[in-house]
Amino acid sequence: MEENQATLDTLKDIKSLMERSSRFISLSGLSGVFSGTLALIGAYLAHWKTNQGPWIQRAQDTDFGTGEIVSIDWSVVWFLSIDALLVFILSMFVGYYFSRQKALRKGQPLWGTYSKQFLINLSLPLVTGGIFCMILFYHGLIGLIAPASLVFYGLALLNGGKFSFEEISYLGMSEIALGLAGLVFKGQGLLFWAIGFGVLHIVYGILMYIRHDR
């Protein structure tokens, strides 16, 4: 009887250690590939809409998109906002879906202590970045929004990366570097945004899929 109790205790120990230590390794590389593709589509739509004609007029013309705004076509602003929001929501959904599939297939827990840590550490810089970008818009610094969002997203990944695969941290560093470069080169915000949220997601997604998913 005592031996049974010991066996039961052992199994409980094992379960608790697994729960306490599990990193968020269910994150699927496929979600990176699909959200990257969504970002490229979103960036293309934004490019198409903003190139239909002048939609913003500034007091002085600067390449950076930072001069004082005289008039602005709000339908374009709404289009861009909804475009970005859709890319974000669909990416979240895709990320959840593929990670759940992977967890089921590999018999891994989707939700552990570290998964929670991952999401909490990811959200704080992300929410800060979101508010920061809205303030940039409020001040009319529209040309800085895309590179700034890359920098904050990179910081978020770097912050959450220690609770998931190491590739997440490297992706984070790449996004930060790209965002900073985007702040230097004038008027190329959307291009850098498309590389960061589109191309990098796809590249790292494929890498993670090869290394961890199969």
Binding site: N4, T7, L8, T10, L11, D13, I14, L17, M18, R20, S21, S22, R23, I25, Q108, P109, G112, F165, E166, H212
Partner: protein
Amino acid sequence: MKSIIHQLDKAFENRIRLGLMSILSVNDWVEFNELKTLLEVTDGNLASHISALDKKGFIETRKRFVGKKPNTTFRITDDGREAFSNHINALEMLLKGAI
């Protein structure tokens, strides 16, 4: 009953080794210090259990430098995963048989 006991792997008879395998089975590469904190053991103790499991081919070791600091991480092997899951199944059977 005897056959079940036979399935229990001698390599996992120790609490710390079982703990090690539990942690590694749900993670990718894990650092030495993190294992130490989770299992609440001393350096020497942990190192000896790690090398025992490594010799059996149940875990693999990766040594490298992160900046100037040496960084050693461990991961479960496919053999290790299979042996560990067999061991857990045997433990569960043992319990079911007893109830």
